[in-house]
């Protein structure tokens, strides 16, 4: 069960696994892959399990097999830091290269990966305009550009149903712009009620929470602040 939304007139499909699909253009969009995050922490002395990169790759491979897109856009912070691409183990490196080579691939640069090695394949750019949509890493402040699709914030939101609080990763948007959830396996999250996110929207906004079987829309007024434990 997927949810549709319209951003600047484009009909988009939100996948429960955290990706966005644009049927008209056969385009798959993911944000904040953070490849190599576990290894980056390990290099700094904190030995997180080394399985995140492979897990993120597997999920992405699954989605590509399911949607068979012509084009894939990664919305920046695809690598956790500048050494992450070089730190990939052999197998992950090979899988990533094969995936990039198999489709029209665009890397959008983010703050974690201000440069991407050309040898990896795929186009590298700061922004990408396709029809009514503009793809970039971080949403612009001030007057919103119509049709802006971005990542960066790792949005999460919390609703209360029958006295139970449910906190999940989510898409957040209004008719003009959409922010994608982080796709990477170890990525934490930021409450959409935090000013950093909520100020992006002039009026009301909407979130789509990721469940195990579907994506569930809620208006912003239905949200509750996420308490710190759930953010951890």
């Amino acid at each position: 069960m997927s949810q549709f939304c319209y951003i600047n007139g484009a009909e988009l499909v939100m996948d429960r696994r955290g990706a966005l699909y644009w049927p008209d253009r056969q385009m798959l969009v993911v944000a904040d892959l953070h490849f190599g995050k576990g290894a980056a922490f390990a290099a700094a002395g904190q030995l997180l399990p080394p399985y995140d990169t492979a897990a993120t790759l597997s999920l992405l491979e699954t989605l590509i097999a399911a949607y068979k897109p012509r084009q894939v856009v990664a919305l920046g912070d695809s690598f956790h830091d500048e050494e992450s691409a070089a730190r990939l183990d052999e197998e992950s490196d090979a899988r990533l290269r094969a995936m990039v080579a198999g489709v029209d691939w665009t890397w959008i640069l983010g703050n974690h990966d201000p440069a991407i090695e050309a040898g990896l394949g795929g186009a590298v750019t700061e922004e990408l305009v396709v029809g009514p949509l503009l793809f970039r890493h971080e949403a612009s402040l001030g007057s919103a550009q119509a049709g802006e699709i971005s990542g960066h914030f790792h949005p999460k939101a919390c609703v209360r149903v029958r006295q139970k609080r449910l906190t999940q990763r989510c898409f957040v948007g209004d008719p003009m712009r959409l922010v994608l959830p982080a796709f990477g396996a170890f990525t934490g999250g930021l409450d959409v009620l935090d000013e950093a996110i909520s100020r992006l929207f002039a009026n009301d906004f909407r979130v789509w929470l990721l469940g195990r079987q579907g994506v569930y829309p809620f208006p912003s007024r239905a949200l509750q602040p996420i308490a710190p434990y759930y953010a951890l």
Binding site: A42, G45, Q46, P49, D89, A185, Y216, P219, A227
Partner: protein, 813 residues
């Protein structure tokens, strides 16, 4: 019996004190170079008995350097004892130095203590672990003669006890000939404490001498025979508070113990409402700001308070001579706990402590009676000894590496000398060591990022000084539930509440905190903002942490009492009548076996099982039962669990009750539920912090406007999928399965009642089932799957949106 030397003898005489026999026994043991375990009730001069031999030795043969190390579970207790020791030392003119060392000790003093330690150092298990991680630990402890562990019963069977046991195994190497002294309250399993203390000592020293204090006068315990209507359910005992207030008046100082912080707030408010005599009544619980708690403690010590309403925050600790009455509101949940609380009154052996039990409902009357009989019979609760935590072991290995290079074989043998790790296999030790070195993952991709490396000389070393710093920032095994500060808008901070409580509040909701009615405004930067409220029905803090389950031992006693009508004579008439009714209308729950009643009520079918296994175990059982009933097509709608029974309601009646309660319930359903449950996630998070995988959150570390760096939940999911046998998952399962005992209790019960389930089909609710049915509706209903709830929530909001507003052109729903 040795006689005390002159200055000591004179000093005791000047106080008007006689030396207790057990205090002299402790001196004897010390003179024979023997370790000793002192078991004595509160008020028996236990702490002095622990220090007396060291004071005597230092008075006779003054020596430089650290002589005695004292370990207390509470910082406050160490500080208090420093004060109490200073006086005799000063008055006898002894040249003995005593200092504390805790997290609160200033940096400069801590530095100085390392090269010029006092004769006696009073500290906590965490601070000891830190001291041992310094490169000069061997010099600091070289001359140590004696280690005194206070409140050993509270430490031994816990992770802090694991940490301490490992530190003591280390000390045994650094300080040859070190004597160990344990001070303990009366416990169920004395031999376990004896083994804990003796473990690892050489055969010659291993005979730890057991010294028993006089048991003193028997406590006088009474159950309040209320003239008010005895409630069927509820836990606040509001019906009896008028009578409780009257009992405060004749007493000098009363400790009013409650079981949860929510109860503390309600009882405190209610007592003040009745307080026409202007009695000074204070409040003490773990969420109040530290300064506020210290104020109450100080007022108590001065004798300025007539009563303090307190939770377990006052179970241990500082002695107050003035307390002459203890009132326990609500059932005590365990015999040992009751005894510990009774000991807080009247710290003198020759006079009995006086206590009043105030049951909050009919079942609690039974429980209070059972507890009272258990205390009279001297039979206490006991948890089976636990295996040492693997997470604590990981922390200890890293700490050892911080102090200097180590050899793995030597460390393994040393660790096995700590009682909780006596059965540790080399394989598990190596797994823990592997985790400390490079994460210990099967996928060997972190070889180049080692924290601790195995060098050519065969020794393990820390690879980077940063690791030492990181260890020191994260030492300890107490991982607090995340809390938020409560602050009056534009005003002072009142204390802290657990975040999950705040989750239940909406702006405008009222709640009671620190004895005041507050209106919740919102959360700002990890602070709950509130203003004083004017009235209305408060949403009281409901702290899960305070809810201790009924002990097995007490549950057994309640069951036995129910089945023996001859024992009902001591119960209040309304309770006797209630039980007699149950016998006429249904049957009594059997001592062995299990009574299950089913009956229709309203449009629903109810099933009530009298398990008496405690609330937590019942909650798990409820989840498993509803799953099974769902598969059997009975359409369960919800369940509610109390300490005594579980009730499930459904659309169709259960017929084959034996099949429902079959043991295989604990198979796949449990596995699946455990893996998904928040219990395991929470446990993993704690294990990961203790073992050093993720860092403790330091105050102010979370900044607004940035995503958190990673999530413990996600790490748990990834690890469970890719490496289910990782040492941290092993540690998590051991903690959740064994440590929390509920699953084990459930397993034992299902095995015990197999083939002995008595199913009573009734045409209406039975008298014994009334209390639990009154809980229905107050409790959360059976938690459905995430997606069903999300969908339901979304649908409700969509319906609402569609009916009265345009949907912004956003959704083609």
């Amino acid at each position: 019996m040795p006689a005390l030397p002159e200055p000591f003898h004179d000093w005791f005489a000047a106080q008007g004190w006689a030396v207790y026999r057990h205090q002299l026994n402790m001196v004897e043991a010390a003179e024979a170079g023997q370790s000793a375990l002192l078991i004595a009730p509160t008020g028996a001069g236990k702490t002095l008995a622990g220090f007396l031999p060291s004071l005597l030795a230092l008075a006779e043969r003054p020596s430089a350097g650290l002589h005695t190390l004292y370990i207390s579970p509470l910082k406050a207790l160490a500080v208090d004892i420093e004060r109490n020791l200073e006086r005799p030392i000063r008055e006898m003119g002894l040249e003995i130095t005593v200092e504390t060392r805790t997290g609160d000790t200033p940096q400069g003093k801590r530095q100085r203590q390392r090269h010029k330690p006092p004769h006696m150092l009073l500290t906590t298990p965490e601070s000891l672990a830190l001291l041992l991680s310094y490169h000069d630990a061997a010099e600091i402890f070289a001359g140590l003669q004696c280690i005194v562990v206070d409140e050993l019963h509270a430490l031994a069977n816990s992770k802090r006890g694991d940490l301490l046991a490992l530190a003591m195994a280390r000390l045994d190497r650094l300080s040859p000939g070190l004597r160990r002294v344990g001070l303990s309250a009366t416990v169920h399993d004395e031999d376990y404490l004896l083994r804990w203390l003796a473990s690892g000592l050489d055969a010659a020293e291993a005979s730890v001498r057991k010294v028993r204090g006089d048991s003193g006068a028997k406590p006088e315990i009474e159950i309040l025979d209320t003239s008010a209507h005895l409630p069927w359910s509820g836990h606040m005992a509001v019906h009896a508070l008028a009578e409780v207030y009257e009992r405060l008046k004749p007493a000098k100082t009363t400790l009013v113990f409650v079981n949860t912080r929510a109860q503390a707030e309600i009882v405190f408010q209610d007592l003040w409402r009745r307080n026409e005599d202007g009695l000074a009544i204070g409040l003490h619980h773990g969420s109040l700001a530290v300064e506020q708690r210290r104020k109450v403690e100080a007022a108590m010590a001065r004798g300025a308070l007539r009563a303090v309403v307190a939770t377990s925050s006052l179970d241990l600790g500082v002695d107050w001579a003035a307390v002459d009455q203890v009132i326990q509101i609500g059932a005590p949940k365990g015999a040992s706990r009751l005894l510990q609380r009774l000991g807080r009154a009247n710290h003198r052996l020759d006079e009995p402590s006086r206590a009043l039990l105030v049951p909050a409902n009919r079942f609690e009357v039974l429980e209070c009676q059972a507890a009272l009989e258990a205390v009279r019979a001297g039979s206490l609760d006991g948890d089976p000894p636990r295996q040492g935590g693997l997470d604590v072991l990981c922390q200890h290995i890293l700490g050892t590496a911080c102090a200097g290079p180590f050899d793995a074989d030597t460390l393994y043998h040393e660790v096995c000398k700590a009682a909780p790790y006596a059965a540790l296999t080399r394989e598990l030790f190596d797994k823990a060591l592997g985790f400390v070195c490079d994460g210990g993952y099967a996928l060997k991709s972190y070889d180049r990022f080692r924290r601790v490396a195995h060098a050519a000389d065969g020794l393990y070393r820390v690879t980077n000084p940063r690791q030492i710093q990181r260890y020191r920032m994260n030492v300890g095994v107490i991982v607090e539930a995340p809390t938020l500060k409560v602050r009056l808008k534009g005003g002072r901070s009142l204390g802290e509440v657990e975040e999950y409580f705040v989750q239940g509040l909406r702006p405008g909701d009222t709640f009671i905190f620190g004895g005041e009615l507050l209106v919740f405004l919102g959360i700002r930067e990890l602070t709950v903002e509130a203003v004083r409220g004017k009235g209305g029905e408060p949403k009281v803090p409901a702290y899960v942490g305070g809810k201790l389950p009924l002990t097995t031992h007490l549950a057994d006693r309640v069951r036995a009492m129910l089945e023996t009508p001859a024992d009902w004579g001591d119960l209040p008439p309304p309770v006797q009548e209630w039980l007699a009714q149950q016998r006429r209308r249904s049957v009594m729950p059997p001592e062995e076996g299990l009574l299950v009643e089913t009956f229709p009520r309203g449009e629903r079918e109810y099933l009530v099982a009298y398990c008496f296994e405690g609330r937590n175990a019942h909650q798990t059982l409820g989840m498993l039962l509803t799953k099974r009933m769902e598969r059997a097509g009975l359409s369960p709608l919800g369940f509610v669990a109390t300490d005594y029974v579980i009730a499930v309601w459904s659309l169709k009646a259960a017929k084959d009750v034996d099949a429902l309660f079959d043991e295989d319930m604990l198979g796949d359903d449990l596995e699946e539920w455990m893996a998904e449950s928040s219990l395991l996630r929470r446990t993993f998070r704690n294990v990961a912090v203790i073992a050093g995988l993720i860092e403790r959150r330091m105050p102010g570390q979370e900044k607004s406007g940035k995503q958190v760096t990673f999530s413990a939940d996600l790490i748990y999911d990834v690890l469970r999928k890719h490496e289910p046998d990782h040492v941290l998952l092993q540690a998590t399962r051991a903690d959740a399965g064994g440590g929390l005992t509920d699953i084990r209790r459930l397993a034992q019960m299902l095995a015990r009642v197999k083939g002995r389930i008595r199913h009573c089909r009734l045409d209406r609710v039975s008298p014994l089932a009334v209390p639990v049915l009154l809980e229905v509706g107050k409790e959360q209903v059976y938690g459905q799957a995430l997606d069903e709830l999300l969908d339901e929530g979304a649908q409700a909001l969509i319906d609402e949106a569609m009916s009265n507003e345009t949907v912004q052109g956003l959704l083609p729903i």
